[in-house]
């Protein structure tokens, strides 16, 4: 039978649901098409590879609502739905489609794991019943639907307890309550957060060790464990926020088999077909365990397990969903053995989460059951220490040389605070406490519940830094095997990095690269997937082909999201089309770029100069593309050039020219392009002088940062006085021009400059462009001004000694167009512009960087768009208590959605945010101080946020109300232009759905 499959994606990136679903969704689409299915894809996230027009037969970039889903089903009449590769969003949507009778009405069946199974896993009460039937131990718990029911539970089980709201992402609204008061607060918050007003309250088993099992099962009942993983933090910290090792480190075979058998019983009894994740808690010394959670779908952990082992879970899970059997599928890693086996590793994998705390002053860094990490870094090594240190540096964790500099001066109580909270800095604080003699390992074990084996690992690292002479052959070799960089060793030994490197060469200590092959070398494999280590023979045989390395973007952070993975992957494809061997270096396990089938060679290594140059040396590769990996690639420019590598299309000098204020303005002056008054300053006094000349309001910010980190808009001198103590120099000071921001992503070869689209920002200048709502083509900007932008762009593209993707930000004020910023790299909006125009921007940029002339490649004229495209940022404010949901110069959003429409004002935006399902209506709009024109209900009346859709508020004093609103799933708008825009959407009607593939034809959109 011909199968037409609707694949539901995961929507915008939010904390708890990140790039892993682009990876799984892309794999699923590929597997379905390989099996001859027709694929219809539904995902609102335009920054993904999976929404590339070539990935599916029809791609719908639409809001992830029931209404839109039904419209797509009406239009496409799929025979099947695949809902297990799009995270919680896809599962919830599939359940909603089923409950609304839409699946039945159209005779659509679900591929793979059934809805009943999904309900058994997701509905806490059903899950509990199922586990009881199987005799699987669960912590004492109770499902509550009201606060009264909490009384009953507390009377029998007491506190501490854990609150887990049903059907929420990344544990939203949940937490551990230590006291009865906290329990009541948390439960009421959890009930609100749950779309079905249901929470599980359970006795806390904090202190147990936590493990995850990634299980696969086929229709025939064959089960395998792809991988198990162990959290360094005991139960209590969300697994997404913990350092994790794969495979499990402290499980004996007896205990491992106990959990494995339990996992098999659970998936078999649930009837899972495809992938499933099971979390267990194990007593630190006794053979007792509890089942914590079962996720009958692919997940963040399955992406990690896939990358840690090489076993492509999502791809195989999709084939199983189509009815294939594990023992019929070839293991794509060995290409000779079958997929029905359990991968075995001859290395250790570490995952380190990345947090947005440094971006937001005053955020609560404490970790708990609610996930706060935005992304993760993965590394492999032959020792725990090596894998951990590589993952740490891949995550950008400061090690000076082992733990952050401030911990050297901090007193013991400050360090203990980090350990006990615990915060994201817990392990480093443990290192500092041991190193500085403030605490013994046994005290730390007692206080943290971290098992002795992991404490030994930390102790081993401390011991290395205290070695009398690290520069002897055995000590140096040992330090390298434990993951220390030449830079760390130099700092410890008080010599230069070059000294260490030289000494290493003298002793013959060189990095080697081993293959990830799923089988510990038992079978021959040709997987082009490698990791670096310091022991043994290298398995890399460099080819003599022309080759280029692409520097990936590393972990997802606010300001550097999945967009850069999109660009990196497209750069790889563009190189391959030119017959060039593409080498991908990246360390983010969630992404498509770290799928070993993408590049010719994949290296999962930290993106530091040392690790990257080692790979380049091993490959004999001289040419590097840094312009697609966001700020990560840019940060390596100087060092790569100094080491003799050739940055295709770019140079460290041109990057400096654009960042160094004086040189930047001199450049613009030279080509007669207007810029706003600004200077670079090196001291506090210099800053006061400069502000004196420039005047208020002004913007102060550091160079080379991601997401507007450390950026301030100052209205008057008291503002400046207030921030002075926190500043580090040099800084850039610019006049703040409150005009309209516009942005261009173009490609240039130095001669031909092509501008595919101009993006117009709705909010006034000052809101970080990553957090702004943008419209293509511009609505408010005149034709003349748009032509002027084209002209300026062309001037810049021709004057810069740069080839590739270029991003320019403008501000339009009083008929003058000023250039704010030029980024000689692919920007966050490149995938969006590509999706909207249907033009392969990254491919063209790569060709330009390789030295091709664009003249014959790019169109002469910009394409007329058939309608409008609106990009909307999505925030994860709910996950970050203590962060004011107020837009400003510091970026806060984690993802974005795209909407096509024949009119510039689009109504659907209110449904986008996965944290709210409410659609805006006038009586549901609340306004704060000074915003009377925007709403019906003033904020100072008794507002029940349960029934509110939007809050308009911007004054600082209303922060508590904004935070309360966010907790209740209310959309907060804090900028006037955006408020006006949103208000205009109320009266618009829903737009018909249309596949992306049809957007790029010349047809007009139907109104």
């Amino acid at each position: 039978m011909h199968k037409k499959v609707l694949v539901i994606g995961s929507g915008p990136i939010i904390i708890g649901q990140a790039a892993e679903f682009d990876y799984s969704g892309t794999q699923a689409c590929q597997a379905l098409r390989e099996a001859g299915c027709e694929v219809v894809l539904f995902n609102s996230n335009p920054a993904t590879i999976m929404t590339d027009p070539g990935m599916a037969d029809k791609t719908y970039i639409e809001a992830m609502t029931l209404e839109k889903a039904e419209m797509i089903i009406e239009a496409e009449r799929p025979t099947h739905v695949l809902a297990t590769v799009g995270g919680q969003t896809a599962l919830n949507l599939a359940l909603a489609l089923d409950e609304a009778g839409i699946l039945a009405a159209h005779g659509i069946s679900l591929l793979g794991t059934s809805l009943e199974t999904i309900r058994d896993g997701e509905d806490r009460e059903r899950f509990k019943r199922k586990m009881h039937e199987l005799g699987e131990p669960l912590p004492v718990s109770m499902t509550i639907e009201s606060i009264d029911e909490l009384d009953t539970f507390i009377k029998t089980a007491g506190v501490p307890l854990i609150v887990r709201p049903a059907f929420t992402l990344g544990g939203t609204g949940g937490g551990i309550a230590a006291t009865v008061t906290e329990a009541y607060e948390m439960a009421s918050r959890g009930l609100e957060a749950s779309p079905i007003s249901q929470c599980l309250v359970e006795k806390s088993i904090a202190g147990y060790k936590e493990f995850e099992y990634e299980v696969m099962r086929d229709e025939n009942g064959t089960c395998i464990i792809v991988c198990n993983m162990e959290n360094v933090d005991p139960v209590g910290v969300h697994t997404g926020d913990s350092v994790v090792f794969a495979p499990a480190q402290t499980l004996s075979d007896t205990m491992h088999q106990t959990l494995r058998s339990a996992a098999l019983r659970i998936v078999s009894s649930l009837g899972v077909v495809g992938g499933c994740n099971i979390q267990f808690a194990v007593h630190p010394t006794e053979p007792d365990y509890y089942v914590i959670e079962v996720n009958p779908r692919v997940s963040r952990s399955s992406a990690l397990a896939s990358k840690a082992t090489g076993y492509p879970i999502a791809k195989i899970a999709t084939r199983l969903a189509l009815g294939e059997r594990l023992d019929d599928c070839i293991n794509p890693v060995t290409n000779g053995t079958m997929a029905s086996f359990e991968p075995t590793l001859d290395y250790v994998t570490a995952k380190v989460p990345c947090f947005p705390f440094d971006l937001f002053k005053g955020t609560d860094r404490a970790l708990g059951p609610q996930m706060k990490a935005t992304g993760e870094s993965m590394a492999m090594g032959k020792t725990l220490e090596e894998a951990l240190q590589k993952a740490w540096r891949g995550a950008g964790v400061e090690q000076a040389p082992l733990y952050p500099a401030w911990m050297k001066k901090a007193d013991a109580s400050e360090l203990w605070k980090e350990v006990l909270a615990p915060t994201d800095r817990r392990l480093h604080a443990c290192l500092a406490l041991m190193d500085r003699g403030f605490a013994s390992r046994s005290e730390l074990e007692d206080q943290t519940g971290i098992v002795p084996h992991f404490m030994t690992m930390l102790e081993t690292l401390v011991a290395v830094t205290r070695a009398e002479d690290l520069l002897t052959e055995p000590n140096l070799w040992q330090a390298k095997r434990l993951g220390f960089t030449d830079e760390q060793i130099a700092a410890i030994s008080d010599v230069t990095i070059q000294d260490v490197t030289q000494m290493r060469s003298m002793f013959g200590i060189h990095p080697v690269y081993h293959m990830v092959d799923t089988c510990a070398a038992e079978f021959e494999s040709q997987t082009p997937y490698f990791y670096g280590t310091w022991h043994g023979k290298t398995e890399v045989k460099a080819s003599s082909a022309r080759k280029v390395a692409v520097i990936g973007a590393g972990p997802i952070r606010i300001g550097q999201g999945i967009e850069f993975d999109y660009s990196s992957v497209h750069a790889v494809w563009a190189l391959q089309q030119q017959g060039i061997e593409a080498i991908m270096i990246n360390n983010n396990p969630e992404t498509v770029s770290t799928d070993f089938t993408v590049a010719d060679r994949l290296y999962v290594e930290p993106l530091t100069i040392e690790d990257v140059t080692h790979v380049l040396e091993a490959e004999g590769c001289r040419d590097v593309l840094i312009q697609f990996g966001g700020q990560t690639g840019i940060a390596l420019a100087h060092a790569l050039e100094a080491a003799g590598y050739h940055l295709l299309g770019a140079s460290a000098d041109v990057i400096d020219q654009m960042e160094d204020r004086d040189r930047f303005y001199a450049f613009l002056d030279e080509i007669n392009v207007a810029h706003i008054p600004g200077e670079e300053v090196g001291t506090a006094a210099g800053l006061y002088d400069a502000v004196g000349r420039i005047g208020y309001p002004c913007v102060v910010r550091p160079s080379y940062v991601i997401g507007g980190k450390g950026m301030h808009i100052l209205q008057s001198e008291p503002d400046l006085d207030r921030i002075i103590p926190d500043l580090a120099y040099p800084l850039l000071v610019d006049l703040y021009v409150a005009g309209r921001e516009l942005e261009v992503d173009c490609v240039t070869d130095g001669q031909t400059v092509y501008v595919p689209a101009i993006l117009e920002q709705i909010e006034a200048a000052g809101v970080h462009s990553g957090d702004s709502t943008m419209v293509m083509p511009p609505v408010e900007t005149s034709e003349a001004h748009q032509r002027q932008i084209d002209t300026i762009t062309k001037q810049i593209g021709q004057a810069l000694s740069y080839r590739g993707a270029l991003n320019i930000q403008f501000v339009l004020k009083d008929d003058t167009i000023y250039v704010l910023e030029i980024n000689p790299r692919a920007s966050r909006t490149v995938p969006i512009v590509s999706k909207v125009t249907g033009e392969p921007l990254v491919e063209w940029a790569t060709l330009a960087a390789l030295g091709h002339a664009l003249e014959t490649i790019v169109p002469d004229e910009r394409k007329q768009l058939a309608g409008y495209a609106v990009k909307t940022p999505i925030f994860s404010s709910l996950k970050l208590p203590g962060v004011d949901p107020l837009t400003g110069p510091i970026m806060r959003s984690t993802g974005e959605t795209l909407q096509f429409s024949p009119v510039p004002v689009v109504a659907e935006r209110f449904c986008y945010d996965a944290t709210t399902t409410r659609v805006m209506a006038r009586q549901q709009i609340v306004y704060g101080e000074g915003w009377e024109t925007f709403g019906d209900v003033p904020l100072d009346t008794a507002v029940d946020f349960q029934h509110v859709a939007v809050l308009f508020s911007h004054v600082p004093a209303e922060q508590p109300m904004r935070e309360a609103a966010v907790r209740h799933g209310v959309h907060v708008i804090s900028e006037h232009h955006l408020a006006l825009y949103y208000q205009a959407t109320i009266d618009t009607t829903s737009v018909p759905v249309r596949p992306l593939q049809a957007m790029h034809t010349k047809e007009e959109l139907p109104l």
Binding site: N220, T222, L251, D253, L326, S340, F341, T383
Partner: protein, 349 residues
């Protein structure tokens, strides 16, 4: 101190000598499981072998009271990348030290495995001086692992099983005890008459080290008891039963040793992940010459993983249903044996 592994093919691998034992010699084989080092080290089937652990950290979870498969460490030597200290008292290193086992660490085990995979399992010498004779054989190996005299465990309300001990793992005996049988473990060379005298309800032909073709003098007995009592043969036991019915045995290049080997039941299509440890295999074609039918095959290389006799209750498995270490789903085979005995009691009583 430094030490060296010298292989039959002349290759050497240098590492750190971890214990005070000074010399070790054995067939060098690799084990790919990531857990289960205690079970492996005490498994009599590994007697006379030098075990290369492919997982780079060994010893990380310490030792367990109940996990050993025999009373002693059986292996001739251990090769690891890193001998981990787990920060607890139950330290693997101390145990290996006390048992006098030579241990070489800091070895590039991946390169070693590559080599073994290509050139096949071979003899190796572990020493601190790199001198000595590398070659060896397994001719008398069974003598060193079999029980010295009959040992009976459990009561026999349900039935009595005789285990012919070619180097039996204790979990195999425990699997039958757990199913309510009494088990008498007999020396491997116990004559058939002696077995008949014990009036067993079932016979377990155990696993064990070495080349089954060195035990040709036992196959007549094996065949005789197998045809008379419900019989389960595991690993060496499977090979001996197959041999006794006329099948042939060949040496594999590098054997199956690990916890992730997929086995398909050719009758039901069911697939199990199994624990395996063997360097010899029953030639698939040769089964045609025997009354035995293929029951289990390896999913990856289609090799013979088990057989059954169409008329009499004989069941054989190349893999290890008792696991330990490894996945437990194949324990179902003991249930099948149990059932066979219960029916067999009626048939043969």
């Amino acid at each position: 101190m430094n030490g060296t592994l010298t292989l039959q093919n002349g290759m050497t691998f240098d590492g750190t000598w971890e214990t005070s034992a000074r010399l070790g010699k054995g067939e060098v084989v690799f084990f790919t499981g990531m857990t289960g080092y205690q079970e492996v080290l005490t498994d009599p089937s590994y007697a006379g072998q030098v075990i290369v652990f492919t997982y780079p950290l060994i010893g990380q979870y310490g030792l367990e009271a109940e996990a050993s498969e025999s009373t002693d460490i059986q292996v001739a030597g251990v090769i690891v990348q890193t001998l981990a200290r787990n920060g607890q008292s139950s330290d693997l290193r101390n145990w290996l030290e006390q048992a006098g086992i030579p241990v070489l660490s800091g070895i590039d085990t991946r390169t070693l495995v590559h080599m073994l995979r290509q050139e096949g399992d071979q003899w190796g010498l572990l020493s601190t001086s790199a001198n000595g004779h590398v070659e060896g054989d397994f001719l008398q190996i069974t003598e060193t692992v079999t029980t010295a005299k009959p040992v009976q465990l459990g009561t026999s309300e349900k039935g009595h099983i005789v285990c012919l001990d070619f180097g039996v793992k204790s979990s195999m005996v425990e699997a039958m005890l757990a199913r309510g049988y009494a088990v008498t473990t007999l020396p491997y060379d116990t004559p058939a008459a002696e077995i008949h005298r014990l009036k067993p309800d079932g016979v377990l032909v155990s696993n064990g080290p070495g080349d089954p073709r060195d035990l040709m003098d036992r196959i007549e007995t094996v065949r005789e008891v197998a045809l008379r009592y419900p019989t389960l043969g595991i690993c060496m036991g499977h090979q001996l039963i197959s041999l006794s019915f006329g099948a042939s045995i060949e040496k594999q290049t590098y054997g199956h040793r690990g916890s992730n080997h997929p086995v398909r039941n050719v009758q039901t299509g069911e697939v199990w992940m199994t624990s395996q440890n063997h360097g010899y295999v029953v030639t698939r074609d040769s089964l045609e010459r025997t009354p035995l039918e293929l029951l289990f095959e390896n999913v990856n290389d289609s090799s013979v993983e088990g057989t059954k006799h169409p008329e009499v209750p004989i069941l054989t498995a190349q893999f290890h249903p008792e696991a330990s270490p490894g996945p437990k789903e194949a324990q179902a085979l003991f249930d099948q044996f149990d059932e066979m005995i219960q029916q067999g009691v009626n048939v043969y009583a």
